[in-house]
Symmetry: C2
Subunit: 259 residues, 2 copies
């Protein structure tokens, strides 16, 4: 460990061997001392799940790159962050980065995302934190164009910090022939996953379902992450974990709940 | 099904046989036609996890009470709501209620809560929705005093509706000798779970961890859910799933991310 180099915690939800986290580790090693604590298997869609009904294990390993430590964890992305802070690192990291996710975490997907939940968990612990995702689900995603931006955004966060309670959600458009046009700070689009359950029958005659769905943008605004991603911009949404709908408090006070 | 009676979806995260959901079903049957789709096993701490890597099953059953249908689901609370809306009900319910959870979901616990994630999932689908929790983890919680308030709050929501994007998080203090003082509309306290991992050794010499922790209120405000729960009031926090930290957008626009 070098003196004065920031300590950076890296995690994700696709698992410690995923290409996205390997790219992220490489970029973070240019900025500081990197500690990786990431799931030992894919944990997509796990939301902010934590493991309270089963045991957790940490498995040190060396995959590639210049991280000071790489540890696979049997738990969820949020578990990884909790274990990293409490059992792996001797002092709190200066920053936590999660990803780069294989697939979008823009708009409402932030709610279901293990990648973003890891970033939010670090934010709850008071650590400046960023989740990175690229809107392409394939295993061999082309992260080449995203790399420089990942470095630049993380460097800004290290230098400037983030206010208490704020975490960054960064999404990269799927790589096309045209280069990214830049970064747009924007808001989370109002959107929905329109579920479609694929109903099947087991060989023993038991009905079962696979969850599938299509993303549906319900937001016509030109200041949303969905809008800018479609224009080939990188979306950067500051998010918070104070879920209070402050605008609704006054209205609810007119309800007659105490009579 | 009676004409003009509202259609109410009931779910939880403690599982379909938990006392809390049985009490909730009984109260909701006074208000409308009740459909229960709830996990077949405890799903506490599952956050907003959804099942995309395994199959889901629905198991109709009859436990007690006057619900029109009771169905146990093998998935998470969010899965239950998705399956209920898409595969069980022929039209969208007029309201979704989740709980009554055995244990608090006030403050930051809303993030980890399966109970609240089910309510939020219904909110995302545009359904007026409430999560109820009682700050007592025991199996045989005394819900007797909470029942009337559950009925009253649900009735108000059925009559008045909720704005798009807002869900209610209701927490009841643990029952004491003193009756509840009433309902307080308030904001989510800034708080944290201070983790403490219980490190153990398996008979085969492998180190493992149990996640435990203590709740830590970091918020001195006298307008928070934690504050009012301590005063023996029922807390009602309107929450939202637009996580955008709008106050941070302008500041981030001063960062030099496009140079």
């Amino acid at each position: 460990m070098t003196k004065n180099r920031p300590k950076i915690l890296v995690t994700n939800d696709d698992g410690i061997t995923a290409l996205g986290i390997r790219v992220l580790i490489a970029e973070m090693c240019k900025l500081g001392d990197v500690y990786v604590v990431a799931p030992d298997k894919p944990q997509s869609g796990k939301g902010h799940a934590i493991t309270i009904d089963a045991i957790l294990e940490l498995k040190p390993q060396k995959i590639d790159g210049d991280a000071i430590a790489e540890i696979a964890c049997t738990g969820t992305p949020a578990d990884c962050v909790k274990l990293a802070i409490n059992e792996v690192l001797d002092t709190k990291p200066d920053m936590c980065v999660s990803g780069i996710n294989h697939g979008s975490n823009s708009s409402i997907s932030v709610i279901y995302s293990g990648t973003m939940s890891a970033a939010i968990e670090a934010g709850i612990e008071g650590i400046p934190s960023i989740g990175f995702s690229l809107c392409d689900f394939s295993k061999d995603v082309d992260f080449s164009e995203a790399q420089d931006y990942v470095y630049k955004i993380a460097k800004e966060v290290l230098e400037k910090g983030l206010p208490d309670g704020v975490v960054l959600n960064v999404n990269f458009p799927k790589k096309s022939e045209n280069p990214y046009k830049g970064v747009k700070v924007c808001r989370q689009a109002r959107a929905n996953w329109k579920e479609k359950f694929d109903k099947r029958m087991s060989p023993m005659g038991r009905e079962y379902f696979w969850l599938t769905g299509e993303f549906e943008n319900l937001d016509a605004g030109e200041d949303t992450d969905e809008y800018w991603l479609e224009q080939n911009y990188i979306s950067l949404v500051p998010i918070q974990f104070d879920l209070t709908a402050h605008h609704m408090i006054q209205k609810l006070n007119t309800w007659k709940l105490n009579e």
